[in-house]
């Protein structure tokens, strides 16, 4: 426990002990280049020794910096949280922390739009910058933030001609690489089981599958599901197409338990008769029998890039000019099969 209680120490106390003005103490913290080196050293040593801390609420009136990034974290089920977004948040807390910033979680009030919640954050000067995730290509919040000139960045991506302050996984390339991995394991007939929701990252994965199948000269079927109750039936249907696929490429890990059940119902053994691959490397994929080959998102690299872009906007006032695509990491596990 700290021996000194900081709230007893004022800027006046430090100034008196150092034999300088309050302004000099303030300069030591906020404009050190204005002081002579020996003065700076003496005052800084006393600030540390006496445990003085400036009141951030007064300080922020001057500098406008709170060292807080507001993040509109997506809503999830407390009894079954989205592990991907929980992992992303953890990576953001770590990356921001290393830069001396903290994450403030912003959730719109019931009936309030996300844009309105962001407006509140900006108007009340609650944060220095805003982080968005789960954006669609024409997300109005992106335009709103761009218009205000408030520093922001997006995990995800925005369409051409819009602000490009984003970092995302190159989902299409990751899917091309997955098809390449199947090709190099001897597969010639692959089937794609996708989710029909109109989410950009799902469409990038689908495009990647098509490009990959063409590039590696594989025969490919495709089918899409709307919800959990369709997965087994649609996967069984894919497994009965002619020519019969030797691999099921899923656009998201959540389809894997259903794909495994479909394989079992068709008398196929995943990892022996049939390869199954996923996307996202959700923690439960390691517990599936057999464990799932999938794509891991480089969450820490994504968070580092987002923090770097946010700080560039906050500290230099210059938003980044182009988005940044980072490669996914293929994770090879026993659901892969090698064909002769």
């Amino acid at each position: 426990m700290p021996a000194q209680r900081p709230r007893g120490v004022s800027i006046q106390d430090v100034a008196r002990a150092a034999g300088v003005s309050r302004q000099t103490v303030s300069n030591a913290l906020n404009a050190p280049h204005k002081l002579r080196p020996d003065t700076l050293e003496r005052v800084t040593a006393l600030i540390e020794e006496m445990g003085y801390r400036p009141d951030q609420s007064a300080r922020s009136l001057r500098s406008g910096t709170r060292r807080i990034i507001a993040y509109t974290t997506p809503e999830t089920d407390p009894d079954n949280p989205n592990a991907l977004m929980s992992g992303f948040l953890e990576a953001m807390v770590a990356a921001a922390g290393e830069a001396g910033y903290r994450i403030l979680l912003v959730r719109p009030r019931p009936g309030q739009s996300k844009a309105r919640a962001l407006e509140d954050v900006i108007a009340a000067r609650t944060a220095d910058a805003i982080l968005l995730s789960d954006v669609l290509e024409d997300d109005p919040c992106v335009d709103y933030l761009h218009e205000t000139g408030f520093p922001f960045a997006v995990f995800g991506r925005t369409g051409p001609g819009r602000p490009q302050a984003w970092v995302d996984v190159d989902s299409a390339q990751a899917m091309i690489d997955m098809v390449g991995l199947l090709s190099s394991h001897g597969h010639r007939r692959v089937a794609y089981l996708g989710t029909s929701a109109a989410l950009p990252w799902l469409r990038h994965r689908e495009a990647g599958f098509r490009i990959g199948a063409r590039r590696f000269g594989l025969a490919g079927h495709e089918a899409f599901v709307d919800g959990l109750d369709e997965v087994v039936a649609v996967a069984r249907d894919l497994l009965n197409r002619s020519p019969r696929p030797t691999a099921l490429v899923l656009d998201d890990d959540w389809l894997a338990p259903g794909a495994y059940a479909a394989a079992q119902a068709e008398g196929l053994t995943v990892g022996a008769d049939l390869a199954v691959t996923g996307f996202n490397d959700m923690p439960y994929t390691r517990l599936l029998q057999p464990a799932l080959t999938t794509v891991r998102l480089p969450l820490r690299r994504i968070a580092d890039a987002l923090v770097s872009r946010l700080l560039q906007s906050v500290e230099e006032g210059a938003p980044p000019e182009a988005g940044l695509l980072l490669a996914g990491d293929p994770v090879l596990r026993p659901s892969m099969t090698t064909l002769a």
Copy 2:
């Protein structure tokens, strides 16, 4: 998108439009009882119409209220986040949001203690209250926060004779209830597979198992593991004790995959020859084959109780005098077996 841009509207603009002083506009927001009802109504309508929002950084200097709860979220692996604590955070964001508060995530800097990070939060007036989790019974942060008089609450519990600003699950009672559930399904011989780490919640579960076994007159063996690589061997050893148990009671869901593997190695079928029960209802327990009977923590009720206690401290200055234990929810799934 909001049509009005709030940063263009100052308190002076509202005062001029309403034909009142700036102080009157300020009173409408901060001390409405000082105004005549018709003045209050006119000024409030203009504030809303013109989209004026007070600068929170100036406001907080007066009222001291930022409507922020700082939470020292535990560190986790971004590629495999702790679903229980992710779910708890989600429940806190929702519960705090309904009360008009936001959650600020505080992580000590590398080399910095948690207490020192909290000291920074208090000194810089970054938040109105602090939430702790994962505390041990003699956690020094609890004493530190109690001494400062800063509003705080704990998810977990503190020992007797210490500040009691906590909310926790009644783990012992939940385990007694689980043993009772096994008893009512015909089990007479149960074995407890526990984790040896000296964490208070694990010791409460262990105590609950012993009380339950005694209360329901069951024969009980116990064994403990230090790490993942021991689980299968120790579980197999328990299954070979005499008399052979018909149920394995786990002190945490993380032991379940190992317990299932041990059963398989012993030629037993979970859900038929052997019952297995867990604790925490981690999302993956629903994907195990068979799905695991376990105990769900009432995360939303816990979060509501914590927010209510935090706000009581912030708004009334009165910390709660006693901790609050909430019941866990047993979740019956196919890993339970019924004996004749």
